[in-house]
Amino acid sequence: MKKVITGNHAVSYGAMLARAQVIAAYPITPQTTIVEHLADFTADGQLDARFINVESEHSAMAASVGASAAGARAFTASSSHGLALMHEMLHVAAGSRLPIVMANVNRALGTNWNLWADQTDSLSQRDTGWLQFYCESNQEALDTVIQAYRVSEQVLVPSMICLDAFFISHTAEIVDIPDKALVDSYLPECNLVYRLDPANPCTLYGVTSAEFYYEFRYKLHKAMEDAIRVAREADDEFREMFGRSYGLVEQYRMEDAELVLVTSGTAASTSRLVIDELRERGERVGMLRIRMFRPFPAEEIRNALRGAQRVAVMDRNMSPGQGGIMAQELRSALCNTPDRPPVYGFVVGLGGRDITTDVVHRVIEEALATDIPEDIIWMGVKV
């Protein structure tokens, strides 16, 4: 069934179809309508879930951790400062190996206070041990929630689905709502072996000495590595069952590309238009969209960039004192590769500033015009 719905509504459809059982959430713009729609689904009987209207995002994640530890499929959603407030609990959720799924609407962090699109909120949680997916469309946001439960429950690592504030969260598009029975056959019931069960008492997450802690972290990392294969399989099977797939990274017109533009989120849609235009003019440019950021699919990215002469990364995020975060990750993935291309790190679109086709053109022109890139390249700074 096709509907014209916002990205937030699409996410709530994803959580409803995945049969989320416990939803603990706290309002924050521009996330709020996700849980409002889920409250409606629960009220009208489309979803059998317990709602916990917590008093903070910190408690939202704490309740999700408790619910997941007791074996329920837990869902929450947040954004920006809400996600930042959860930071401690993100570590706890991942260390506890709980397959919680959370939608994060990418919004800038204050101060200065700003409500608009910026990925620094979720990217500054990159070391917490969550899988991270960055979506380009409303359809992808819905589908990724369902895929994420499948992957998370297999590898026992939580998932964060990231979508750009307003460009996805509040923009309506045509979305194909998958058939519930088909989703049920794609996503089996959540059945955690290690959970809080009075019939089988066990102590979870106790104090752990250096004798064992190292091994727990090793296993978390191995599960992350495994998630690359599991996510690929989940995406392949999703294509077979629903006719759509996204890959861990998406390659667009990459054949013989000399310059590759690396993007994520909705900036990819705009970039696609520019790539088409330049290709028509005979320029050898292509685009690589990063969908899965954690675990970082470094090998797939290295393979995709083999042969590229220059790599221009557009980061709608920034680590002050270093630069765009995806550019850092790209450089890190390429640094041990012989004949690696130079990586141009462009910081664009912070705090919801538009990334127009003009911006994308200028990014490509600048990367083609400069042989040795600066560590960080700003576009259109008004100072």
Partner: protein
């Protein structure tokens, strides 16, 4: 008060509590009251250690260690999950120290209480951050020595009234408890188990290293706290107060003098404490009338 105390033990021997630890006894009594259909969430506190380090376990009921400020929210999540999975019988207990209740845990506790989440929240209150080395908390009484309120500048403000704070949330059941009166404690825990909504039980826990008293005096000091009215035993069911153990004419000095943390107090200090205790007792007596 006479009561049949179950023989079943849910606390194994070999825990890592200090000698004379009141918090170990309190957990033992409480679990006897709750039985095996219980899940416990423990935020950072002495019990994070007492429960045993991985791979050892002290409790024979499911236990989840959680973050310091999340006792109530974690318990609420566990309860919601058990219910949606069809288990409506199991009691979910959040078991927090005074830091995880009065201070860092207060926001989540307030949230759960306002929602009237169906959990029992027990604060075992040893009146300071004992696990990190006796730093003052908002549960530390006036003029108490702690490692962050030295004897020459002891705590200047009174202990936070946590029972009044919880009363302001209009929850169905609130009680105080003592390890010196296990029958009273177990009866209260059993009553709490049968009530739907948020139940709050406040247990005063003598702490030999933190209160500076010999380990064999734990029960005696706990009893003196009750008899001298420093820590009266009562319950508040749907707003109705009832004193459950009648105190006697024990003076507060009898309670204070056994503890090194009050060694620096002078006669005037003790008089002020006695006056405060008397005033608070008449308030409780009046409410219970």
């Amino acid at each position: 008060m006479s009561i049949e105390i179950p023989r079943e033990e849910y606390l194994f021997s070999g825990h890592t509590g200090c000698p004379g630890c009141g918090a170990v006894l309190a957990m033992r009594h409480v679990l006897k009251g709750l039985g095996d259909k219980t899940v416990v969430a423990i935020p950072a506190c002495c019990w994070s250690i007492i429960a045993g380090a991985f791979p050892y376990a002290t409790l024979n009921v499911p236990l989840m260690h959680c973050a310091f400020e999340t006792g109530a929210a974690t318990a609420a999540g566990i309860k919601a999950a058990l219910e949606i999975r069809g288990d409506t019988e199991t009691t979910v207990l959040a078991w927090a120290g005074d830091g995880g209740t009065f201070d860092i845990g207060l926001q989540a506790l307030s949230g759960a209480a306002e929602r009237n989440d169906d959990i029992i929240f027990i604060c075992y209150d040893n009146e300071a951050y004992m696990n990190t080395g006796i730093q003052r908390s908002s549960a530390t009484p006036w003029k108490t020595w702690t490692s962050t309120t030295p004897a020459n500048t002891p705590k200047e403000t009174p202990k936070k009234d946590i029972v009044a704070t919880m009363m302001a949330h209009h929850i169905p059941y609130i009680a105080t408890g003592s390890v010196a009166y296990p029958a009273d404690l177990i009866a209260k825990v059993r009553k709490a188990k049968e009530i739907r909504g948020t139940k709050f039980i406040h247990i005063l826990i003598p702490c030999p290293p933190g209160w500076r008293h010999p380990s064999e005096l734990t029960i005696k000091i706990a009893r003196l706290a009750v008899l001298s009215r420093v820590f009266p035993l009562y319950e508040i069911e749907d707003g109705n107060h009832r004193v459950t153990v009648e105190p006697d004419d024990t003076r507060v000095s009898e309670y204070l003098k056994l503890q090194g943390r009050f060694r620096h107090l002078d006669e005037t200090d003790i008089e002020v404490i006695q006056a405060n205790v008397d005033r608070e007792w008449s308030r409780i007596e009046c409410l219970s009338a």
